[in-house]
């Protein structure tokens, strides 16, 4: 374990808005989370072995081409009790990592970049004369999607709160981003994780992704950026081109439109009452259409379509008006603009743009909710329910119950503590659908790089003999 340093540099942590940590949080603390529980969690449940294997990327020493210093050059950062940050920690091996985490019992573990030298020893390289400037060389491409960025379209809750009415926004985000990362960018090793409270994180771990420059990272985040502006801008989504980009068209037809019409429109009650529908009408650039709609909706004739949800029928009216007539291209785009405004993913851009940005590790426990940051299966993300994610206290209860049940039977067979709780399933998913294929690919890369090196040195004449 290296020397401990206070946070250095104004690297914004993923949660810039820390305003709402007030009394309501301390209530959660009672049942979901406590430092003592956390000690037990790190002692018996945290999947150290899997995490270590992941971050080694096949550099496990079993192949002569392995880079033994690889994981030691990875930055970890801990947030201890009372918001004490320790940055630039690094570990030489699995046991050092495990021992340090158990000893420090961090409330949050962040994973940073792989640097050219061990982060813990970085000061030794920072002298002016040194030509090895401490700098990041490799880093997963990461995304952070946070529900607070959707506040202007949520009618159910705001800020750090989430509920099952707004969570589908995250489902949409996962589906759209995951598909584009695979089909457009050709990435394969993608891990989605619940952030523990109000959003999701994404780790793209392909070798190609880990080696992207900051500029390339920025270009990918911009590729996903449709939603622009804030309260000072009128229209947040502007589609000016004559036809949608294939990636947007796919997102629109496969995900955004169906989710908008079947879920968001009704869940968020977008077109009733007046305050809500006015916000939708703000996105319509044609005054005649606006007046027309207002006239029809203010009368509040619910009877006409009694069986149908009033939001759905109003959406049908608006869509027909916008798509019909000789309103032209600008208004036709308007339907897509509205749908995208209310559904298209909003990424926290800054997190993805720079290699050295920190992101919370999977399987951490969120101190405010007590929930574990479990992986999400992008194939089945619509079934993911953030309100049933295991909490720290729940896991410890499961562990106790299981042991009470089996204390009489002492057959010596060693089941991991993990398997006795509902966290076992999450770790199993992490292992089989993410870690195993990733390690297979990583090992193949290590071997290929080694072959190439051998080949190179064989063809180069040596002076020795």
């Amino acid at each position: 374990m290296g020397q401990q340093q206070q946070q250095e540099g104004p690297v914004p942590m993923e949660e810039d808005v820390k305003m709402e940590t007030t009394a309501e949080d301390s209530r959660h603390l009672q049942h979901g989370f406590s430092p003592d529980y956390l000690k037990l969690y790190y002692g018996r449940l945290f999947p150290f072995a899997e995490m270590y294997k992941w971050l080694s990327y096949g550099n496990d020493g079993k192949h002569p081409g392995c880079d033994p210093s690889f994981i030691a050059r990875r930055e970890f950062s801990f947030t201890l009790e009372h918001d004490i940050y320790l940055r630039y920690l690094s570990f030489h091996d699995a046991s050092e990592m495990e021992a340090t985490i158990r000893a420090k019992c961090p409330h949050k573990i962040d994973i940073g970049a792989v640097y050219n030298v061990e982060p813990a020893k970085r000061t030794a390289y920072s002298g002016a004369g040194s030509d090895r400037v401490f700098s990041p060389v490799e880093r997963e491409l990461v995304f952070d999607i946070d529900m607070t960025d959707y506040d202007d379209i949520r009618n159910c809750c705001s800020g750090a709160d989430i509920c099952l009415k707004c969570w589908p926004l995250m489902t949409i985000a996962i589906k759209v981003v995951d598909t584009a990362l695979r089909d457009d960018f050709g990435f394969e090793h993608i891990l989605w994780v619940y952030s523990g409270r109000r959003g999701v994180h994404c780790w793209v771990c392909d070798a190609r992704a880990r080696r992207l420059t900051n500029e390339q990272r920025t270009s990918i985040t911009d590729y996903f950026r449709l939603y622009k502006g804030n309260e000072n801008t009128a229209k947040k989504v502007s589609l000016v081109a004559a036809s949608l980009h294939p990636s947007l068209l796919r997102a629109y037809t496969d995900v955004c439109r169906p989710f908008f019409e079947d879920t968001i429109l009704l869940n968020q009650s977008l077109l009733t009452p007046e305050g809500n529908y006015e916000r939708v009408l703000d996105l319509v650039p044609d005054d005649a259409v606006k007046t027309n709609m207002r006239d029809r909706w203010q009368e509040n004739r619910r009877s006409s379509a009694a069986r149908e949800d009033v939001n759905a029928s109003r959406w049908r009216q608006l869509k027909q008006t916008l798509e019909s007539k000789q309103k032209g291209q600008a208004l036709r785009r308007c339907v897509e603009e509205i749908v995208f405004s209310y559904t298209y993913p909003r990424l926290d851009m800054e997190v993805s743009k720079h290699m050295n940005h920190l992101l919370k590790a999977p399987f951490c426990v969120h101190p405010k909710t007590g929930r574990v940051c479990v992986p999400i299966d992008p194939q089945k993300c619509e079934t993911f329910d953030p309100t049933t994610v295991p909490t720290l206290s729940q896991l410890l209860n499961e562990l106790n119950e299981n042991e009470a049940k089996h204390s009489s039977i002492n057959n010596g067979s060693k089941t991991r503590d993990l398997e006795k709780t509902s966290l076992g399933r999450a770790v199993h998913f992490f292992q089989t659908s993410f870690l195993d294929p990733l390690l297979q690919a990583s090992k193949a890369e290590v071997a290929a790089a080694y072959q190439e090196k051998l080949h190179e040195s064989a063809s180069r004449p040596t002076l020795n003999w």
Partner: protein, 476 residues
């Protein structure tokens, strides 16, 4: 690049890789005139030429910067660049033109390698210059240039084309472009990816012929960026010391003569006090800072981007660290209490003043940086002229009590994307006097102070602000 001393007045390079050992080119008639500047020329150069060539090239780069600051469109800049290049880089003997190009480029590398700020400026200007020059080459010489640079470009065959024809059509139609003819790894074309101007499939970007310029200039940029860092190391490690009597003074003078004022140092002895902030914000802050100031007073909070933009501006305007801490604490603590502020935010304030962490004295943001910002939900930083909707901007400008004609003028400039000109017009409207252009919020502030308090002389040796952006070199 190395300049070695051979005689007192001549430079030469001992290692010989051939006169035109540069990626492409050579003096041969008809060959591409472009270069990726990979190897420094090994020719003898007189000290006079060393400096003169560099100045000529600087005039071109500086003019490019001015054109960009005015928000001119690409085609307009292109025409200007070609004229400028002909005007300044002409040599009596056509065969020497390539030499002058090479020498001036490598001299300026030395000049502009020495700080992050200088490197970024040089990189931007040289890339623009290169892009314009590549654009004006014939397709044939463009193709040859790409081959010689070994760019990872692959032509697409008919089956590949048929499989994605519809999607390529969607992109091409919406951009009014010809259909793609080849593909490159998406990493090669970040600009096109960022603006969704290419079709992507499994990591490949399908690019039409005329987008090649983006790929090539990207390569140029990447290589130059790396080279500048290396040059810097070499400069600090050896050249600066070895050449301290001969080249170092020239090199150092070249960059300072051309830079605008550095707002990280409080050159003027004027400082501003906490009690004056309200009235200064009213009278002398540019719109972007007024907005942030109003917001922090209203909300008692600003997100990171806003804190940085306003905080560094206030520092540049002369707010001392103690006063800055008092200011932010007074606002933020109303919402979160003093303790939380001291724990989570005061570090950030001290950091900006170089008292924490890396101990870098951070520079206030320039207009360019502010305009390029991407404010999101809950953010208030950025340039109002660029980031506000027409209605909101109109409302804010309305609050300045300008006459209708000025307001129309400002809004017109905004519609044409001339954000800095709109800001200058606002300055003129508010202060009722001429303004030569706004490149920096602190420049706006200082000019405003000068107009409002003519007796307040800011330091005598201060650069005259009106000259910022103009060549200060005597035209010989």
């Amino acid at each position: 690049m190395e300049f070695k001393t051979a005689t007192n007045r001549r430079l030469s390079n001992a290692a010989s890789t051939g006169l035109y050992g540069t990626g492409v080119g050579g003096a041969g008639g008809g060959a591409s005139r472009l270069s990726l500047y990979q190897v420094a020329p090994c020719v003898e150069v007189s000290i006079e030429e060393f400096e003169q060539f560099a100045l000529d090239r600087l005039r071109v780069l500086k003019a490019i910067e001015e054109n960009r600051a005015r928000g001119r469109r690409l085609e307009e800049v292109e025409a200007v660049v070609n004229d400028l290049w002909r005007k300044h880089m002409r040599t009596p003997n056509a065969a020497d033109a390539h030499n002058k190009d090479m020498i001036s480029h490598f001299v300026l590398r030395l000049v502009y390698c020495r700080t992050e700020e200088l490197r970024r400026w040089f990189l931007g200007m040289e890339t623009t210059l290169f892009r314009q020059r590549f654009r004006s080459e014939t397709p044939e010489s463009q193709r040859r240039f790409m081959e010689e640079c070994k760019l990872p470009y692959k032509a697409i065959n008919t089956t590949e084309f048929e499989a994605v024809k519809d999607k390529l059509g969607q992109v091409a139609r919406s951009l009014n472009q010809p259909l793609p003819t080849g593909m490159v790894p998406f990493e090669e074309v970040p600009e096109l990816v960022a603006s969704r101007r290419v079709f992507l499939q499994r990591g490949n970007a399908f690019v039409p012929r005329d987008q090649l310029v983006a790929i090539v200039s990207n390569h140029f940029r990447a290589r130059l960026s790396k080279a500048l860092v290396l040059t810097n190391r070499k400069w600090t490690a050896t050249i600066a010391e070895e050449e301290k009597d001969r080249l170092t003074p020239i090199v150092e003078a070249l960059s300072t003569r051309y830079l605008g004022p550095d707002y990280s140092q409080l050159k003027s002895k004027t400082t501003i006090g906490l009690q004056d902030l309200d009235s200064l914000a009213q009278r002398s802050f540019p719109l972007c800072m007024r907005h942030l100031y109003t917001k922090v007073k209203e909300d008692h909070h600003l997100r990171h981007g806003g804190r940085q933009q306003l905080g560094l501006f206030l520092k540049g305007a002369g707010l001392k660290l103690e006063d800055a801490l008092a200011f932010w604490r007074a606002e933020f603590s109303q919402k979160m209490g003093v303790e939380k502020f001291d724990k989570e935010y005061s570090y950030n304030v001290r950091h900006n003043y170089g008292r924490e962490g890396k101990r870098t004295d951070y520079t206030p943001y320039s207009c360019m940086k502010i305009i390029m910002a991407t404010p999101g939900v809950g953010d208030h930083h950025g340039c109002p002229f660029r980031h506000f909707s027409q209605e909101n901007l109109h409302a804010v400008i309305g609050g300045l009590r300008l006459n209708a004609h000025t307001v129309d003028d400002i809004m017109g400039k905004v519609r044409n994307h001339h954000y800095q000109l709109a800001c200058a017009a606002t300055f003129e409207g508010v202060h009722g006097c001429q303004c030569d252009g706004i490149n920096h919020p602190n420049q706006y502030f200082e000019q405003s102070q000068k107009v409002l308090n003519p007796q307040l002389k800011s330091g005598g040796d201060d650069l005259d602000l009106s000259l910022q952006g103009m060549p200060v070199v005597p035209n010989s």
